[in-house]
């Protein structure tokens, strides 16, 4: 299968993702510039962390007007997996592909450390490698990771099992300890923690592999279904 990694001006985790997919997951992967307008030929799209457009105004607010975004919206609509990590999550909410928004951490400071997460939904395209209730460890590194949505939206998220990861010790003030959510269809995931930073034990954790591997397995299954 083939992953696309979108790169916006100011993205800074695109190469980390690239190496994670190429060296550890060992699948095809290509960087796709924000200037492009097509995502044909890709099976999954990853939106990396960083500070697109400096995160000026609001995180992700400016990036979502990039030429690639209409193609991303089309890709998401087609049901193929889209994973936005950190700034990628922020871009997805600003682009309206995920509900809610991410505001400043309650501490009003940037936080970088490894956090325990509970896998709340182990049936998603992104988490099928895990068991429900399993605790995994992933690094966070963000200033605006405090997930907010109104009560109604939260009820929907719960009812549709859209909350994939929750923090065990909420580090940033997110409602309902949310660390990662999908859209209603389940094929778009936004998460603040960085799985690509946790794919080698030498760097502290390899729990992130499960997320990428889940995508790979689900894409493979889809193909079997499609061709079978």
């Amino acid at each position: 299968m083939k992953f696309a990694i979108l790169a916006f001006p100011g993205s800074n985790c695109e190469m980390d993702l690239y190496y994670a997919i190429q060296d550890i997951i060992k699948e095809d992967v290509e960087l796709v510039s924000y200037k492009e307008s097509s995502l044909t030929g890709f099976d999954a799209v990853l939106i990396p962390g960083g500070f697109s457009y400096g995160d000026y105004l609001r995180s992700g607010a400016i990036a979502r007007f990039s030429p690639i975004v209409p193609a991303l919206q089309k890709f998401a609509k087609s049901g193929k997996p889209v994973l936005g990590i950190c700034n990628g999550f922020q871009i997805l909410t600003e682009a309206g592909l995920l509900p809610g928004s991410l505001q400043k951490n309650v501490s009003a400071k940037f936080i970088c450390k490894t956090e325990p997460l509970v896998v709340n939904n182990a049936d998603s395209v992104f988490s099928s490698q895990f068991n429900a209730g399993q605790v995994i460890h992933l690094p966070i590194a963000h200033g605006d990771g405090n997930y907010y949505c109104d009560q109604e939206t939260l009820r929907d998220l719960v009812a549709n099992n859209q909350i994939v990861f929750r923090y065990q010790n909420n580090p940033n003030g997110s409602v309902a300890n949310i660390a990662g959510i999908t859209n209603r269809a389940g094929n778009v995931l936004g998460m603040m923690p960085h799985p690509e930073r946790a794919v080698e034990t030498v760097l502290g954790s390899s729990d992130g592999i499960g997320i990428f591997q889940s995508i790979v397995n689900n894409v493979a299954n889809r193909e079997v279904v499609a061709h079978g």
Partner: protein, 87 residues
Amino acid sequence: MTLVKVYVTYKRSILNPEAQAVHSALTRLGYNDINDVKLGKYFELTVADGKSKADLDQEINEICDKLLANYNMENYHYEIAETEAAQ
């Protein structure tokens, strides 16, 4: 030139950590009569002349909806000053 002043503020239900930080700093500094602090953004847009009022209103609303404010969390309002105001 027309000067448009846009105010973007958080919705009432949103706890804004930065405003809270300012509020508690003020309290620590001894300003105990400050009961509440809200913090928002203040834009001054200088717009070329030549648009009707209705067109300008439409443009500003569009700009706010699309970019300047996030409708999940923020409200906005604006004022149009006839001439370019001095700073």
